[in-house]
Structures are given as C-alpha cells and as structure tokens.
C-alpha cells in the first residue's frame, strides 16, 4: 500500500527492557513525526525530521528516548530501559514537507501499542 506503515502493531515488554519501533513513511515524504498518545489523551509530540536538517528533539521526554531516520526513509524510535509510564500508542506521521498547499497534510500510520508490564 501507499500509506504510512508501522511495526510492530503491538508490543508487550517487561520493565527495564529496550524496545524499537519502526515507521515506514510514504515514499517522497521528507517530513516525519513521532507522537505518543496515552489512553484517552491527546497527541504528545516527540520528534520531527525534516529532510537533511537536524531533527527537532524537543518533545522527547527523557534521554531514554531516541530516534533515527535513514535519509528520507525509514525511522526507528528506541526506548531504553522501558518504564510502565511509557505504555501508550506511538504514532508516526509523514508529510511532503516542502513549500506548497499540500505540503503539511500529515498522513498517520496505525500506531504501535506499547505495553510495559
């Protein structure tokens, strides 16, 4: 398909373990975002990649969280030494990211539901 995909769809892990979440954006989209959504709550911005610019990491909640992006392709969000409060749905979105009327429409993936026991 042509949409944003995320894997795994569900992840259950034990407290203290590391997890890696993957996002495949829509081909050609230069902008990629990671958000966290706790149960019944809003979207919490985590990190933003735009082309080759340095990522905006201002939303990462602690140094246990990190993310990388390979060029304008796949991104991985890594959470080290997971804690129970990390349990949430992690959403990835991509957009064209260049100047223009359609550049900022974000297309969201289905999310990864992370449960930390």
């Amino acid at each position: 398909g042509a949409g944003v995909s995320q894997s795994p769809s569900n992840k259950v892990t034990e407290k203290g373990k590391d997890v890696e979440l993957r996002c495949d954006p829509i081909s050609g989209h230069t902008a990629l975002y990671w958000y966290r959504q706790r149960l019944g709550q809003g979207l919490e911005f985590l990190i933003y990649f735009q082309g080759n610019s340095a990522p905006d990491k201002s939303g990462l909640p602690s140094d246990r969280f990190s993310a990388e992006r390979t060029g304008e392709s796949v991104s991985t969000l890594t959470i080290q030494r997971t804690q129970q409060e990390d349990s949430a749905v992690y959403l990835c979105a991509s957009s064209l990211g260049v100047w223009g009327r359609d550049s900022d429409t974000q297309y969201f993936g289905p999310g990864t539901r992370l449960t930390v026991l």
Partner: protein, 115 residues
C-alpha cells in the same frame, strides 16, 4: 512559540443539531491550521486545513471550519450532526512554514452525538 488550545474536553450534541468544536491558536507569523479526527479503534484522519484564501474551509464528511484572524480561532462546525460523527477531534497549527517549524496538536475534544 506556537501553541494551540482546545478548551473543551467533551462536546455533547443531539443528532440533527449543529455542532461546534472550538480551537484557538497562537503563532508568530501566518498559521497553517488543520483538523484531524480519530474514530474509535482507527487511525487519525485528515479532515480539512486552512492555508490561505477563503476563511471558510470545507472538508470531509460535511465538516467546515472558519478561520478568524482577529480572534485567532479555527472552530470546527457542522450544520447537522450524525451519531457517526462521534469521535475524538484534534486541531493542529504550524507557524509560518519553514524547515524549522513543526505541527503542534491540541489536546483533543471528544465529540459525542446522542440519537
């Protein structure tokens, strides 16, 4: 810094009545404004956006939103609500587009339409 506020956690409307979901924003330049909807157990979907031009923007599923620069608002509206409109709605804003500005989402408003 840019910000967006959705002052209502929940909005309850009877089916067939008009609905409004409020959103206000703060940016230093000209805003790009968006509404997204999240249906139960489904992903976030784009509804509509304002970039420039007409202040009244029409989007999917019969929704529209009015950009009001003087009140820095971008309220979502629909003339006649359906039960199927029940969902979580998010307003989002991006400051004068540049490679440095990101899209910020509001906290969300849960819309509940009763039959």
């Amino acid at each position: 810094a840019q910000s967006v506020a959705q002052p209502e956690d929940q909005v309850n409307v009877a089916e067939g009545n008009p609905l409004t979901v409020k959103c206000t924003y703060s940016v230093s330049g000209n805003p790009y404004l968006f509404w997204y909807v999240q249906y139960p157990n489904r992903g976030l979907q784009f509804l509509l956006k304002y970039i420039t031009g007409d202040n009244l923007v029409k989007g999917s599923y019969g929704f529209e939103a009015e950009f009001n620069k003087s009140q820095t608002s971008f309220h979502l509206k629909k003339p006649s609500a359906l039960v199927s409109d029940s969902a979580l709605y998010f307003c989002a804003v991006r400051d004068m587009p540049s490679s440095a500005s990101k899209i910020i989402f509001g906290s969300g408003t849960r819309l509940s339409i009763r039959p």
